[in-house]
Symmetry: C2
């Protein structure tokens, strides 16, 4: 789904400007391998987001040295000259494109964070980037998710005419649901405890 990728990209960009390659790396660093993607989907996604005005391309910065930056005062002036020369001279040269989130992008991110509490993968991303919500919103998000999972649990599914392995799958599913519900309860508890204006 494009939703997941959009959510992740926008979420990452709230922590600072990034270029595509770096976005991909951070994506793969998310806990539990929540979202793995490839350049073939990442770059088009960035392009779509740019087209919708949710991200904007920042001024391409000077190439930042990876190790041991020898930054004396006199050198920084040279770097600035180098950068501006680069910026003009690099036509037809492929340079880093640094993306930043826009105000519309922040709105969209908030919308994505609060929507659609049903999809499992999406919800993990919502948790990963929920610091962009207020404590109250987080609480509401977690509670809606809990209710959604509780509903799933209620449905009896198929217990009749199931062999050993199907019963094993059903058992695993139930355990996973219970575990997730407990996890959500802990998140909710944390949110209530740390909320602004928390009851004494």
């Amino acid at each position: 789904m494009a939703v997941n990728l959009d959510l992740a990209i926008l979420g990452l960009l709230t922590n600072g400007e990034l270029h595509g390659y770096e976005v991909k790396r951070r994506l793969h660093e998310l806990p539990g391998g929540v979202l793995r993607t490839s350049f073939g989907s990442l770059y088009p996604a960035l392009g779509r987001l740019e087209g919708r005005g949710l991200v904007k391309v920042a001024e391409p910065a000077a190439p930042q040295p990876r190790t041991s930056v020898p930054l004396s005062g006199s050198l920084s002036g040279e770097a600035a000259i180098f950068r501006s020369r680069r910026a003009k001279a690099s036509r037809s040269g492929r340079r880093k494109k640094v993306y930043a989130i826009s105000d519309d992008g922040r709105d969209e991110l908030r919308s994505l964070l609060l929507d659609n509490v049903e999809d499992d993968r999406t919800f993990l991303l919502q948790v990963a980037f929920c610091p962009n919500l207020t404590s109250d919103e987080r609480l509401e998000l977690f509670e809606r998710r809990r209710d959604a999972l509780a509903t799933r649990r209620a449905d009896p599914a198929s217990s009749a005419d199931a062999d050993f392995y199907q019963r094993a799958l059903l058992e695993r599913y139930g355990d996973g649901l219970a575990s997730d519900l407990a996890w959500l309860d802990r998140l909710i508890e944390h949110e209530r405890t740390h909320a602004r204006g928390a009851p004494s």
Copy 2:
């Protein structure tokens, strides 16, 4: 992935002939909502499987009554006549297409059941239809899966510079892995206990 749908369709057909609509229903009855799909992907998938010779279209059967089948011995003869009449008369009429698995389909199913132990969704389907394997093969499948999960667990991922919610996600992921490993150990234990020629 087409693999999942193929696996599920072939697996379901080992329990008897089915038409597409019924395949979809059974699919949604699988424990834990392992695979939900739509007609728009199901029918093309059936067509592909037929094109590859993995399933074949069986003689369209007579419309089977949904409730209270009055099957006396004398009626079965009438049903056969009715069916053959239907088969000819229904040109241009859209009738049930009943699919059956072929020998090649069984081979493909076995291959799919034993392959690719990395994908989470696929593995659940492999468990659901693993009765089509021998006990030894099941054991090997489960052990390979356990090793794969154990490898995932080893990778430290990102624990540095993680906020509360990222740590919560990481914790949830770790718990899920541990739970799955325990579940697999139970499956493995069951397989060893019930294997043909199990050691005393």
